[in-house]
């Protein structure tokens, strides 16, 4: 009897001492479940989930100064190295062909950044009603709406510093919601479009894009964005450098390395080092829930912005656009395009929206980086 009492007491003491860690194990478990069972952004959710468990085991020192996770964090995230290098890989993966054949699709990428600014207003409104967020914190939270992990990391780190309590929740929210795009966008798009709108067919004309255009495009974008939002140059510069390697035609082996080896290697380290921000005592805070809530608002209003912009364009054009295409303007590539194509096929199995959806989705990648650069340019002037 004494033995069982001792065990019970020990278990109770353990639970009392580690309940916060236990919550983090559950969060880690959910992320791993989503990655493996639902195949949602597994390359990132799995390392983040495993890392969350790893750093929260009782007595774990793996994320302390000098230990492997902290080391990876310091060399890769605290100085933005991983997200920027990852952008070279992403740039090398992206084929801008669908946008170059139909450049008007870029407008949807622009419209779908609405969620960023809407969330900024919501975070500021919360501050006005007593939930304290500084202007820099509000801006960092709003960038979750860029639907782009590396952009969120770079902007949040620049504005808040990597030691901020909000940095971890922002990064985790950015990646988790990207993985949850199919679950978030589907009901929102259904809610704000009619069946008639979802049935609109869009013709796709295959056109050749010259090599000159493909090569000049990344250079032009870098120059224009650099001129408008110079603080966003590291982001757009790395993305477009990767794309130039892909399109130049003389660096095929480098392009392949950037797309596969480099991107995979960085992704492994990025995921696991994000876990350094997920120590229970820093992560479990009421503000984390607010950040997650605002992140969801950002994704919803990105979608709303894109869809309503397509509806607005339909007021003036003869050839109607399927408003669902507007939802693809978010940067979550290629999940968003896949979701919308699938939704179109569910309504009418002869409706092929994929190429338009991919074009808008790729545009979202560019627009989200522009938005990130703008947020940086505006808020870097704010007092810290």
């Amino acid at each position: 009897m004494d033995f069982f009492t001792t065990i019970k007491d020990a278990a109770w003491t353990f639970i009392q001492g580690n309940w916060m860690n236990a919550i983090m194990w559950v969060i880690g478990g959910v992320l791993i479940y989503l990655a493996i069972k639902k195949e949602m952004e597994p390359t990132l959710l799995l390392p983040i989930g495993f890392g969350a468990i790893l750093v929260n085991l009782p007595g774990s020192t793996i994320a302390n100064e000098g230990q492997i996770i902290k080391l990876l964090y310091d060399i890769g995230i605290a100085n933005e190295f991983f997200p920027l290098v990852l952008f070279i890989g992403i740039g090398a993966m992206i084929d801008f062909g669908p946008v170059l054949t139909n450049p008007k699709l870029m407008l949807f990428g622009a419209a779908a950044q609405f969620g960023i600014f809407f969330t900024l207003s919501m975070a500021t409104l919360l501050n006005d009603i007593g939930i304290e967020f500084s202007a820099l914190e509000a801006a960092s939270i709003s960038i979750i709406g860029a639907a782009d992990g590396p952009t969120s990391i770079v902007v949040a780190r620049e504005l808040l510093g990597s030691d901020s309590r909000l940095f971890g929740p922002i990064v985790v929210a950015a990646y988790s919601y990207m993985a949850l795009v199919p679950i978030i966008q589907r009901p929102v798009v259904k809610l704000i479009t009619t069946k008639k709108e979802r049935l609109i067919r869009m013709e796709y004309k295959q056109r050749d894009v010259s090599k000159t255009t493909r090569i000049l495009f990344p250079i032009i974008i870098t120059a224009v964005v650099g001129f408008v939002a110079p603080d966003g140059l590291p982001l757009i510069g790395c993305l477009m450098f990767g794309n130039l390697i892909r399109e130049c035609g003389v660096l095929n082996s480098l392009s392949e390395t950037a797309q596969k080896v480099l991107a995979n290697l960085i992704t492994i380290f990025l995921g696991i080092s994000i876990a350094a921000t997920m120590k229970a005592e820093a992560f479990l805070h009421p503000n984390t829930l607010i950040v997650l809530g605002l992140g969801l608002v950002a994704f919803i209003f990105d979608t709303v912005g894109g869809v309503f912009f397509a509806k607005f364009i339909n007021l003036f054009t003869k050839k109607k656009i399927n408003p669902m295409i507007g939802a693809c303007g978010i940067s979550a590539f290629p999940m968003s395009a896949r979701v919308i194509h699938k939704m179109g096929q569910e309504e009418d199995n002869q409706n092929f929206l994929l190429m338009h959806a991919i074009g808008a989705n790729v545009s979202g990648q560019i627009a989200s980086v522009v938005a990130g650069g703008l947020i940086l340019s505006i808020f870097m002037q704010f007092p810290r």
Binding site: V99, I116, S121, A138, T213, I220, V224, Q381, F382
Partner: protein, 74 residues
């Protein structure tokens, strides 16, 4: 006159950096969305120009090739 314009412009565009409120974030929303659309419009125009230029260049090259073949056959 110039100063007045500056004051009006700054009250429309510039958020209050010391005391940031909802109105300031709305200003940033307006400024941000307008800038993104402006950048997008510039990019669209440049891509259209580039596409037209390369299309014309390709047509010219094809025409020159055809003439060359015709000349050779004569």
């Amino acid at each position: 006159m110039f100063e007045l314009r500056n004051v009006i412009q700054s009250s429309i565009w510039e958020p209050n950096k010391e005391d940031f409120h909802l109105i300031d974030s709305l200003k940033i929303m307006l400024r941000g969305m307008l800038t993104i659309f402006l950048v997008t419009a510039i990019l669209i125009v440049l891509v259209v120009i580039l596409n037209n230029y390369t299309k014309k260049k390709k047509e010219k090259e094809e025409k020159a090739k055809e003439t060359e073949i015709e000349n050779e056959s004569y």
